[in-house]
Symmetry: C2
Subunit: 491 residues, 2 copies
């Protein structure tokens, strides 16, 4: 099955220095590993190919299970939104209207009202919430949908990182009190931690965004910033505390215990699966290609039989038996018994990021042993014993190593900077600068503009998960600093 | 969690004669069981609510696992199709253009080329196939996507049955020979059999459609017809043998073993999950509401503790222990310890179609027994022993009973008719008529038109899974019959 994606005659060699030539590395691995095809004939729209889709389906499973465990119910809302809904929340329309695709016709008929292809679903969902939520007993009301959204991006698009169509989950929750809603922001970040870090080994900083960088219509936004090998931050799932703004526009009220009608407090949360996958590819990969976490790899173990013409049948049979044993134990294992040479197979599946490989030939059959190759360490050793237990343990250990390595790199990438010049040096050497800054409230925007203009870097915000007390001067204006912020180049 | 969907103060009583007032029954159960909400403010677009989405997600799992088992790879193609692609296949554009929603603008900019929201994805996918398929080694090429499609339906819409947006899977396969492609049609019908009948207990007839009723662009179409309680057929998954028409338009060629370039042979297959769910609801439900198959029910077992103020804590604790035991064994179990009276709880969860219920009070705690209620038979009995084993067995038995009952009904609904008058009587008494018919090739269309005009019924086609030999006269024109066809009213 899997090899079918491999185009005949395509060269399989891959060797690009990821850290030095990240942009080339990324484009090339997307193509070579057949993650996506950019040749679809609408600009900014791409085709996601099986090897990537299988990984992302697993990511969806992890995320949705976690959301449901935390009390969210799944729903499916229409992909289209009437123009009038879309215009109800002033800030929201201002923020999103430059990005909306409009449906104006059905067959030859001009529609009476234009429909937006959803760029996000607040204005689709909240009118329904106002019909469903009646009493404090209905709260908290926690719902999500797995969906695609469409945004007319004018920035350059890159597969997985930024396209005009992307795959995400959006969670939209309502609460009876401000406090409960604000607590949900923390829960959402915990969900990001679960998916991105615990499962996929990609570390991030949860940062409360500056006032000028919040979601259109939100009171405040907490973003998750992860680092790419080129030293640029990529924004991963954001959570938005919406206050009661949308509730008032969409009339989402409940009768509280005291008999009074009140507006709900809201949050929304938008993890983009296709974008998180960009981080997974980029953070873990090496110069030889992908390294997929064991927990999402479409093939967790590739079994390569090493045979001669004489013993082929016997060795392949042995390989099939191992495969069966592993598959019966819920492990995604596969035998590559194609006509390619072993070396070609090794190279190909290493490039595709298969975390573990088992090799067996005549000798191993006799010894009841197997040669185990682990993709991240690029090492081989002989193993004996219950193979399904060995594989499960090795898979988990590999994921732990990926996480630890990424964590160590991430930690080293954050540097304390005492002045503007140090910040400049930090961001130019692919680091995240931590420094004193006057304020992430409105009055700090001028200083942020100077950072952007002079360093093409951005003030990403202040830590959400812990309080970092500023003590000193703003690295830009020299006034007394109210916040410790993180500054980096970004996607 | 689940009860959150239940709107406060909403009446939970449900009692409608399904077979006599099916239309009312269907509308009411969609509303009462909170399967969908029709109040979304674009005509023909509805919101699918959690209780239905959880069922349909399970259906997706079954279908996708089966497709993958049969060698299909998952991919995600763009939701939008350039107008020029769409126009490449003449019959296809003729068939679909009355149904297409068009995107003409992005923000304030008019697009250079209009984009169709996919009504189906042949014209999106096949241009990519022509890039990916090179050699006979790439074949068979079997791919599917889970997706929504949008069609500007002008017929009356009904939730799940016909909407302007629906949820499906589309499989698109390529082969090196005509024979392999035609064999795929059979495999697809086997997949329909697996999902619809084996798992969900909904019987159907696989019928090769008359020439005038095939998919636009296909050589022939095999549809799956299932019966609704009002005696109307509903078309379920269809498979289309496409021949080489699309291959020629989209230039999908391969180098065969003989070194020659040849066009591939194609099939496509489109099971609509939301529509199959309409059959599941309708076929199995009874006058009291839904009866969900155990294998897809969001809650497979509802545990209702029966307590007084005095023993509440103890009984609820016992219920929680049962819940934990079941959940640990992979069973979707839940305790309803809300403040509602037991009778209300029974009534509500019966209406929602929960297949099994466990009741326990002081007596059961003492006896280490439980009262088990099965939704389809509406009977109770006392059970003792390993509860997870009991539940699994009971769940499977319930699904078997649902299937058997549906099969028996379906069999009885097919009646042999010797002449036009008998066909008339059959379709008017909610049956499917089987009869001699001149031909389902082009020259039979006039007779079919007469059936449609006089009986508002349709010639659905001939059996695909077995040969039924015609011997006699066409029930319409009296000419020698070439085919045995099935005629019924339809959705």
């Amino acid at each position: 099955m899997m090899e079918k994606g491999r185009e005949e005659g395509k060269k399989i060699t891959f060797n690009i220095n990821k850290n030095e030539k990240f942009s080339e590395w990324f484009s090339d691995i997307v193509d070579k590993a057949e993650l996506a095809d950019l040749r679809y004939n609408i600009k900014g729209f791409i085709v996601f190919r099986p090897w990537a889709v299988r990984c992302m389906e697993k990511m969806y499973d992890f995320l949705e299970e976690e959301l449901q465990r935390k009390g969210h119910e799944p729903a499916w809302f229409p992909a289209v939104i009437p123009e009038k809904n879309f215009k109800l929340e002033g800030e929201h329309i201002k923020g999103f209207s430059p990005q909306v695709f409009w449906i104006t016709h059905a067959a030859d008929t001009e529609l009476e009202e234009r429909m937006a292809m959803r760029p996000t679903s607040e204005t689709a969902m909240y009118q329904m919430y106002s019909l469903w939520i009646r009493s404090y007993k209905d709260l908290p009301f926690k719902m999500y949908q797995r969906a695609q959204v469409w945004r007319y991006e004018t920035k350059a698009t890159r597969p997985f990182i930024r396209s005009r169509e992307f795959y995400w989950v959006e969670g939209h929750d309502c609460f009876s009190t401000e406090k409960d809603a604000e607590a949900q922001v923390g829960e959402d970040i915990d969900t990001t931690e679960y998916l991105m870090h615990k499962k996929l080994g990609v570390p991030f900083l949860a940062l409360k965004r500056p006032d000028w960088d919040k979601f259109p219509g939100a009171v405040y936004t907490v973003g998750s910033d992860s680092l790419m090998p080129d030293g640029r931050i990529i924004q991963q799932p954001s959570t938005h505390f919406l206050g009661q703004g949308f509730a008032k526009m969409f009339d989402i009220k409940f009768e509280d215990k005291d008999g009074k009608d009140k507006y709900v407090w809201q949050t929304c949360y938008g993890p983009a699966i296709s974008r998180i996958f960009a981080s997974v590819i980029s953070v873990h990969g090496d110069d030889k290609g992908l390294i997929l976490p064991y927990c999402i790899a479409p093939v967790q173990v590739m079994i390569v039989p090493i045979y001669t013409t004489e013993n082929k049948a016997k060795v392949v049979k042995g390989a099939r038996e191992i495969e069966k044993e592993l598959v019966n134990n819920g492990i995604r294992a596969k035998v590559d018994d194609s006509d390619n040479r072993p070396g070609e197979k090794f190279f190909f599946w290493e490039m595709k990021g298969v975390p573990l490989r088992l090799e067996l030939g005549e000798k191993e059959l006799k010894d009841k042993s197997l040669v185990l190759f682990t993709r991240d360490t690029v090492t081989k050793r002989t193993v004996k014993g219950k193979i399904n237990e060995i594989i499960k343990k090795e898979g988990e250990a590999l994921d732990e190593r990926l996480k630890k390595k990424a964590d160590d790199n991430f930690k080293k990438s954050i540097v304390d900077c005492a002045n503007f010049n140090e910040v400049k040096k930090a961001v130019e050497s692919k680091k995240i600068a931590r420094c004193n800054f006057c304020s992430i409230d409105k009055d700090g925007e001028k200083c942020a503009e100077k950072v952007e203009k002079e360093l093409t870097a951005f003030v990403r915000g202040v830590r959400y998960d812990k309080i970092e007390k500023a003590s000193g001067k703003c690295i830009v204006c020299g006034k007394s600093a109210k916040h410790v912020v993180y500054i980096a180049k970004s996607y």
